[in-house]
């Protein structure tokens, strides 16, 4: 099946035509509705997978091929099944990596919600056993000292005492994250052997039921976020088993989804010169250089922009928005639209004609610019501005005509970010929409709902309105 979609707006062609072939020429910049600085050369754009894949031959390996089509629409289960059927080991590795990312962010969501509701907002009626979950959450959030303090509050003889002790021991040994799969498996209940193309077993939920310390002694259902870590590591192990070559680049590819407790990956030095399209297709890191650029941002912040703007399309794209100290988020928003249109124009030039897949492909360029800006803003301490870019990126993954399906890992990362801000409505929606495809994410539901309930009682009073 081709990625063909009907092109809708003939008026866009005029703008696109003006851009095609000469992105650097300001006299051909589009109309006032497309703002920004044409900072991405046609050579850099040509490096990006959306533009390269405007060439039929480059696209052929992915177009209509079982597995890649499903991956593009984020149907990972079906994608994995197709890749398994066709024996595509790289494809299998890719899907396992994506699944690992989803569950990793699920762990962060559970951790952030738990940290707030049973940590910061702890009440005297909360079951004391919940401090085990607070401990795990703080460990995931990278605060080992606070985690150990929470574990110390778990009473002896409780259903979670042994788990607390195990986590305490692990943390006290100052290990590097993450815990080994065998250890996580032991904590979570047997997930079964790592099987390429398979799925891990998941324990039945809820994991625990604790009694409130109140007159009514209501029961609180709770789940251990360790399970989500375990699921993530299981899939990473499956990815490595499927394609040994991924070992060298997996830390870079997983970097956007790493836990707060995990260090940033090493920079560009050890990475291969070229990351294959199997790892870039349908991602917002548009070429190998972008992957390395983002690793450099993790290490050096915005200073990486000038170092990479001649090599990385994303660096070039956001360069006009960076003044050396601060990122102008509005300029990033503008650049995201402009560079997307430049990419569309370049795709027309490559393919020789407009095609329905151009817009959705180009959307990845727009999202890449937004997400790159988001990371730079975060590193620059511009938390709110990063949030604006984060939410705009989520908004653009609308699905439907002319757009692309939501990246579940990114959606979960937004949910986790929201929960970190004690905001619950959007993460509840995100989680609810993902549960049919990822039922194990139900682990994260109880603390999120508990946080909502607690905030509900503290919010200004309100009544329904029509």
């Amino acid at each position: 099946m081709r990625f063909a979609l009907l092109v809708r707006h003939v008026t866009v062609l005029g703008v696109v035509g003006a851009l095609a072939g000469c992105a650097e020429d300001e006299s051909k910049l589009p109309t006032k509705t497309v703002r920004g600085t044409a900072s991405v050369s046609s050579n850099l754009l040509a490096q990006t997978w959306p533009v390269r894949m405007a060439n039929d031959e480059a696209r052929a390996a992915f177009e209509g091929k079982g597995g890649w089509r499903q991956l593009f629409i984020r149907d990972y289960a079906q994608s994995l099944s197709e890749f398994s059927r066709s024996g595509n080991r790289v494809g299998q590795a890719r899907v396992h990596m994506e699944l690992a990312a989803v569950y990793r962010q699920g762990a962060v969501l559970a951790a952030n919600a738990t940290h707030h509701v049973y940590g910061d907002d702890r009440t005297e009626t909360d079951p004391v056993e919940l401090q085990y979950l607070v401990g795990v959450s703080r460990a995931i959030r990278g605060d080992a000292e606070a985690a150990l303090a929470a574990f110390a509050d778990v009473p002896s003889g409780a259903s979670v005492t042994a788990r607390s002790a195990a986590w305490s021991t692990w943390l006290s040994d100052n290990p590097s994250w993450p815990p080994a799969l065998e250890w996580l498996d032991g904590m979570s209940g047997a997930m079964g052997p790592v099987t390429v193309g398979g799925m891990p077993n998941t324990p039945s939920l809820p994991h625990f039921e604790f009694t409130e310390r109140s007159k009514q002694r209501a029961m609180v259902k709770a789940n251990d976020p360790t399970v989500l870590l375990a699921l993530s590591e299981w899939h990473l192990a499956a990815a490595r088993a499927a394609d040994a070559e991924v070992m060298s680049i997996l830390p870079l590819l997983m970097s956007p989804w790493r836990l707060p407790s995990e260090p940033a990956p090493v920079g560009a030095d050890d990475a291969p010169a070229q990351i294959s399209d199997a790892w870039l297709f349908a991602r917002t890191l548009l070429c190998s250089e972008d992957v390395l650029f983002m690793a450099a941002v993790e290490a050096d912040g915005g200073a990486a922009i000038s170092q990479w703007s001649d090599r990385s399309p994303l660096a070039a794209a956001i360069a006009p928005a960076w003044d050396g100290d601060r990122l102008d988020y509005q300029k990033v928003l503008d650049q995201s639209v402009l560079v997307m249109k430049q990419a569309q124009a370049a795709m027309v030039e490559t393919s020789g004609t407009e095609a329905g897949y151009h817009r959705p492909f180009a959307m990845f360029v727009r999202l890449g610019v937004l997400q790159a800006g988001m990371v730079v803003a975060d590193k620059a301490g511009q938390y709110r501005d990063a949030g604006i870019l984060r939410l705009e990126a989520l908004e653009r993954m609308e699905g439907g005509k002319g757009s692309i399906q939501r990246d579940p890992a990114f959606a979960m990362s937004v949910a986790a970010w929201d929960a970190g801000n004690r905001s619950v409505l959007r993460p509840e929606d995100i989680l609810h929409n993902l549960l049919p495809d990822y039922p194990a994410l139900t682990v994260a539901r109880p603390p999120l709902e508990a946080l909502h309930l607690r905030l509900n009682r503290r919010a200004p009073p309100s009544t329904p309105v029509h």
């Binding site: 707006h9 509705t33 949030g387 609308e398 439907g400 757009s403 508990a450 200004p460 309100s462």
Partner: protein
Amino acid sequence: MALRRTFLALGGLAMGVLGTGATLKYYEEALPTSLNPLFADTMVDARAQELIFDRLWYRDAITNELSTRIVARHDVAEVGRAIKITLKEGIQWHDGTTMSAKDLCFTVRAMLDSRTPSVVAAAYQEFISGCEIQGPSVALIRFRKVLPNPRERLGFAILPASQFSSTSISPDLEFSARPIGTGPFKGVRARREVIFDAFNNSHHTPSLVQLQLREGGDPLLQIRSLEGAEVEGIIVVPPGSRADLRASDEVSLKSYDLRSWWYVAVNSNRAALADKRVRQALNLLIDRNQLREFAVGVQAGDRNSPCEFISGPFVQTSPFYNRSIPTVPTANRAKADALLKSAGLERVGGRWQFNGEPITLKVGMQANLNNEATDLLEQIGNQLGDAGFDRQTSKVSADEWNQEVVSGQSDFDLVIGKWSFGLVDAVNDLFHTNGRKNIFNYSDAATDALLDEYENAITDTEQKDAYHKLHALLAEDLPYLFLWKLDTKSGWRTEVRGNIITPYFYFTEIDAWKAD
């Protein structure tokens, strides 16, 4: 009545500030019923009032941080039973006078005045006991009990004492059409639109010069107007139009976080409808799949559908939703017929009769909901008709809805409506015998007991458990036929920039909005 006096002509409006900013025109679901924040009965009201007034504290639209534009300093006092608030200096009301502690205490006292018929105020009465002026800018608000983190609870808008002769505030005062606030815009409700003129203040510097709120009519015309740049925005884009706008380069679809669910309220004080079995039968006669497909354009099985069925008075993502209660997506005529017969109804000539009399159901729907769910009223009417009920259908104006339907004074048998919530999705006012928004004066002792259990719960879990039981009870007793939740999306032209939409309140960040 004050509200019915002559309104200012559009051309004669004076601007609060002259600048080089733009004017934004946008379509709303309806005109606001009141611009007085004490009487925010509709979401349109709430959104409009957000432009005109400042709330004591609000949540940042992006980071959710608790913020304030008007409080310089606060201190918890009297061992947690009070909060001392020092207001910022130099904040002006739209009439040029300066905001002071007198205004803050006036607002509190107006809310506590039993003669102020405000549902908004009634909610604050439950925990605020009074306000004492301690200086020109300093006021002490007292609570009925110790309140941890009191700032989080104080989200009401401040009113100007000088505009009122007493703390007894009526919704009919001219203030409701021509309010004075400290917000970034000064608003006046005219006959067909509301004009908001920018008002520069020490704490607000709006970039826009003017906003014009218009009542959205035919959805197709709204979309054409937006695409043709005759307006810059639509607050609620009809679901059927979203796909086209999504693919547009001229318009951005933006999420508006608002929890809304749709319902058919049933007048259980009326004849046959008093019998639960009849209500249960109606619930089984409504084919929700069909309604959703024809009225909203969403098919069964659509992935990530914006329109999801509900089986009780909460959206499925709410922690209060009882997931063990199934929805009823399709009709079950046989089961419905059996229930109707067991309730003593007879089918004569294909039409249902009660006590020998044909049943004609009078069905109303909030008129503006037709923009979101096209012909829903007719579709439901047709389904009831096919099932053997005669019916009379009518669309209800916003004013009539507010004044008659919600206050329990209508003579409808069924009304189709939508309730919207923010973070707090408490439903006591809808179903309690003494509920302030109990549409058909529904009264059930078991329901009241559960609602009281919710109010009196000590822990969050107990509250949740109470509402889970309520959900189960209401799904059985059916004062409402629960339909669906429908996500809300706005559409704004891409010339509008910096347009961050705040969950529920919408325009909290309007200062940063710009337009080319």
